[in-house]
């Protein structure tokens, strides 16, 4: 009898994002413990995608933390799409937690515009303490770019991302670092360091095709899993982020 052919490879435990199209592209979800960069210019859906990742985790009884750096969480909650699957009780039960980074800075006495290496350590320890104390399984920092502005040098940014990634991974926490770039940027992060260190990169963009502006998503890199590298068009709806493959028939430059 011919031997059975087994095409499956050993699979790392997945953190299912709950975004069906993305989980399909990632062969089941983000490998648990990965720290990934969700990057793109403004209006491409980075925050919405990240929030949905947390909401699905919270619905699955995982503790999820959103660290807001650029805007207050109150303002953020007012502006999010009212998901059909969102439950207010997730916040009341402490499954979905929002923390404003300026409050963390204040508590830590980090009031300088530029952080030194020791202060980077203080910040990483503070975030790790919150994650440990609350047994956080999913974390979003929106945005890492704003934190990096205070680090200034590539050395400190590398140090921060390496340490935060290693710490969160050791705690079994799957993390999304939101990265902002300008629309014409030809790299995936503003400082060029974040993209090299992260375990994964999900690139979100705007594609103009014959006068139509399409929101797109592409998984550029993801350690620990096979993944699609095709470009998808996405829609932000009350049923969550929906994805379909970008049609290539009328191929255009950059498409």
């Amino acid at each position: 009898m011919a031997p059975k052919v087994n095409l499956s490879t050993s699979v790392r435990e997945r953190c299912v994002t709950g975004i069906q199209g993305l989980d399909n592209a990632l062969d089941g979800g983000i490998p648990r413990g990965n720290t990934i960069l969700v990057t793109g210019s403004c209006g491409t859906g980075k925050t919405t995608l990240s929030l949905e990742f947390l909401v699905h985790g919270a619905l699955d009884d995982e503790t999820c933390l959103f660290i807001s750096v650029t805007e207050s969480s109150e303002k953020l909650l007012n502006n999010i799409i009212p998901y059909d699957f969102f439950e207010e009780s997730l916040i009341k039960k402490g499954k979905l937690i929002f923390v404003d980074m300026p409050v963390v800075y204040e508590k830590l006495g980090l009031d300088k515009l530029e952080f030194q290496l020791e202060e980077v350590d203080v910040l990483v320890r503070a975030i790790a303490d919150i994650v440990k104390e609350m047994d956080v399984k999913r974390l979003v920092i929106d945005s890492i770019t704003s934190v990096c502005y205070r680090l200034r040098t590539q050395e400190k940014i590398r140090d921060f991302i390496l340490k935060i990634g290693a710490t969160l991974s050791s705690l079994g926490c799957t993390s999304i670092l939101v990265s902002e770039i300008s629309p014409v940027e030809e790299r995936y992060s503003l400082f060029g360091v974040e993209e090299a260190i992260a375990d994964g990169i999900i690139f979100m963009g705007n594609l103009e095709r014959r006068g139509d502006l399409l929101r797109t998503l592409q998984v550029v890199k993801m350690r620990g899993t096979q993944h699609s590298r095709t470009k998808y068009v996405l829609d932000l709806t009350s049923a969550g982020v929906l994805l379909v493959p970008l049609l290539k028939g009328g191929s255009v430059a950059g498409g």
Partner: protein, 189 residues
């Protein structure tokens, strides 16, 4: 037998997941729509998702209201009203796509509606391949049809693609032949 009954009867013989091209003449347009939505979909307890790129959804809704068709399970994806800068009021069962060239967005809106109507099977009506062909080239339109129909088959939904007889072309026939199981000619007897 009327066009309405004829179309509905032919659809009744098809298994779920079927994709059909419905070849119609302009004079039978509303009779065919009524046959699908009123006589077929309602009897089969299907949710109807109607993609219109030919005339604004409001015109179809007005006609269905005159015909006293129950609208509670009929939803529209309208990709023509906005490009026409139509100022008519927006119907609660209609989702608008900015342009018939945004084919991915048509798929996304269909996906959204199928998610919203979970629990019941769907019929998706594409009205029409000819009007989409005005705005899109053959390659991208073929790719769109292929993805849309196969996605709907996987969801066990029926797909009906309108093909207007007056605007038939070899390209359109070839495109349809690749994706549909059958062509129904809407005619009375």
């Amino acid at each position: 037998m009327s066009v309405t009954t004829n179309v509905a009867d032919k659809l009744m013989t098809l298994p779920e997941s079927s994709a059909v091209a419905l070849q119609i003449r302009a004079e039978h347009y509303f009779d065919a729509i009524r046959g699908i939505l009123d006589n077929f979909a309602i009897k089969k307890e299907l949710d109807s998702i109607y993609i219109t790129s030919t005339i604004p959804s409001q015109s179809i809704i007005n006609a269905l209201q005159v015909l006293e068709v129950d609208m509670s399970n009929i939803f529209f994806v309208d990709c023509i009203s906005q490009i026409m800068m139509s100022t008519s009021s927006k119907h609660e069962h209609t989702i608008y796509v900015e342009s018939p060239t945004m084919l991915e967005n048509l798929m996304l809106k269909v996906e959204y509606l199928t998610k919203r109507t979970q629990g019941r099977n769907d019929i998706v009506i594409l009205d029409s391949i000819n009007s989409l062909a005005i705005h899109n080239n053959t390659k991208i339109l073929s790719e769109f049809l292929h993805l849309l129909v196969n996605n709907l088959r996987a969801k066990k939904a029926y797909t009906v693609i309108f093909s207007m007889e007056e605007y038939r072309s070899e390209d359109i026939s070839n495109m349809l032949n690749i994706v549909v199981d059958e062509t129904i000619i809407a005619a009375g007897e």
